[in-house]
Point group: C2
Chain length 382, copies 2
Amino acid sequence: MNRPRYDTALPLSGARFTARYRIAAETPAAAEEAARALAVEQTIEFPAELVEGTIAREVVARVESLQETAPGVYAAELSFAVELVGGELPQLLNVFFGNSSLLPNVRLERIGLSSELARRFPGPRYGTRGLRRVLDVPAGPLLSTALKPLGLGPEELAAMAYRLALGGVQLIKDDHGLANQAFAPFEARLEAVTAAVARAERESGMKAVYAPNVTAPGEETLRRARLAREAGAGAVMVAPGLVGFDRMERLAREVGLPILSHPAFLGGFVPKGDGGIAHYALFGQLQRLAGADVVIFPNYGGRFAFSREECAQVNAGLKDELTGLAPAFPAPGGGMSLERVPEMRELYGDDLIFLIGGALHRRGPDLTENARHFRRLAAEVK
Amino acid sequence: MNRPRYDTALPLSGARFTARYRIAAETPAAAEEAARALAVEQTIEFPAELVEGTIAREVVARVESLQETAPGVYAAELSFAVELVGGELPQLLNVFFGNSSLLPNVRLERIGLSSELARRFPGPRYGTRGLRRVLDVPAGPLLSTALKPLGLGPEELAAMAYRLALGGVQLIKDDHGLANQAFAPFEARLEAVTAAVARAERESGMKAVYAPNVTAPGEETLRRARLAREAGAGAVMVAPGLVGFDRMERLAREVGLPILSHPAFLGGFVPKGDGGIAHYALFGQLQRLAGADVVIFPNYGGRFAFSREECAQVNAGLKDELTGLAPAFPAPGGGMSLERVPEMRELYGDDLIFLIGGALHRRGPDLTENARHFRRLAAEVK
């Protein structure tokens, strides 16, 4: 039977980008078949025998290499034509892991960008060096904490922020559950907390920024971030799992404040079984691709069950070379205590943000004194 | 030591909404502790001993019930104050499963809405009945397919759409990889395909709609959807995993075309181990909450390893009572064949959309004839 075979009239540039996948398969032949199926799934999602020419040669992803890395585990390197992306981040994520997110035996391990993509998505606007300049701290770990509990009003949150900044906490962020609730409306909170942090800065002579949570519906994210910039907050926080990585990328490009990325609703992608997105890519590379300067994630040994090795991978994904994109700060948190400062400094290195929550409040009634204690501890470790 | 204890000055309304979680725990005591920790994690994320009054009683989630449902598996029903949501979908999702998405032993199983939330998020604008009215098909399964492979230009895609609509395919959607690439720019594609589908409608006397993919960065999603409405496309498709559920919700509220939800990049949340979001909630309830009229997901027995029972759960999540929100159509796809029509009809019932891809092209060179064959088959099953 003669079937139509599809081709494209458009010549492609030949420029390609890559991704590395982990494939679980029982035999080398099954792995090869899975890799070829993945190449089709992520691109044409169409019977391969019904395409020809440029579509068959260049639009379908190419399996550049396939290696067994452990018994039953394979590393497949695929390459894709840059034209598939059309310059848009949602489609780039779709090419990396759209349908394949639904495949139980495929994990996205690493992304690779072409120079064209790196120009289109230039990554963190500040990165580690830029944020150090903003905070006037050329070396050593930085300190961060969140304003909570939910239920407090703008003035109470501002009073808390003042005491923390006075004690030397450099990045004071909203709890990620603070949105625009009646008990702490965004604009009133922004105004009160920004003023409180500025007052603490004047009194202490130490720099501090406030990162209000701008995770919000649609354009409201951008509008709140612009309000934060105008108010002089100094940074913003957003949860890309809730609003999409492309909204974070727009914040970097259109608003221009340092960005803290929060992991809420991203947990689904943490590898379980043989699927998911590896920690290196999920909390490291993809975050930089979408413009995060600081990435919050659960520290090992806390209540979220990330391992030490997984956290080391996050750290590497934030700092390894990635087509010239700036490295970003890891901000491990989630049930950490003051005692863990030295071992964390050893694992993550100098470019590290200690994100401390409950422990800062549990230590005693004087938040400023607690913060000073924490700052001394952090400054002492080498 | 005297510590400050936090409370809120704001009285709450007392209105609450619920969620049911599956908790894996070794003992009843461990399950109870995990449920209490979850109640704190999803709300104040702060030492419970440092809050009092309204915050302790109403802001912290309440564990309404906890039951062992199988050895080592517990069902915990939590309730939350509606004031925590602030009327915003990202924050509602955050309350349901923000940080807890990162907990390996907690799965979101079902959501429950209060009447306030159902007013704020009224769900599918069309639902099953509305879409049947649009397509003028009062009963029986509907037919859908995607325009592919990637690489074809607007005129080629339009020619394909014409042949498919002429054969009786009622919902013709873009491949989810079609964004705004140079080989098929959105606006040229929209114009060409919409005109082709309209011509087929006139010639065949059967209704059909085109659902262009509007998954795109930021406001571009909304802009493209409005263009689709003006052009008369009849529907739109979006991937909430890539751009956020709240962007889909805005499409429903602000654009008003029927919405097809695509599962790209949502796979991370499919339950693996003891975490994730149950199929019922992920592909059923949350999709309706965010306004989807048609939900695409991988059919059982295809290449994505969903089980028959999981697909039945999706179907139930799309159709069960949910505070008055309209039911939505399941559109199972992913490697399905014509032979499977009868068993699928039996599993999913009358309100079902057959989403068929490669099989429609593989059957033979005449797409219109293939579509007619498919339509006859679908009409015959009871």
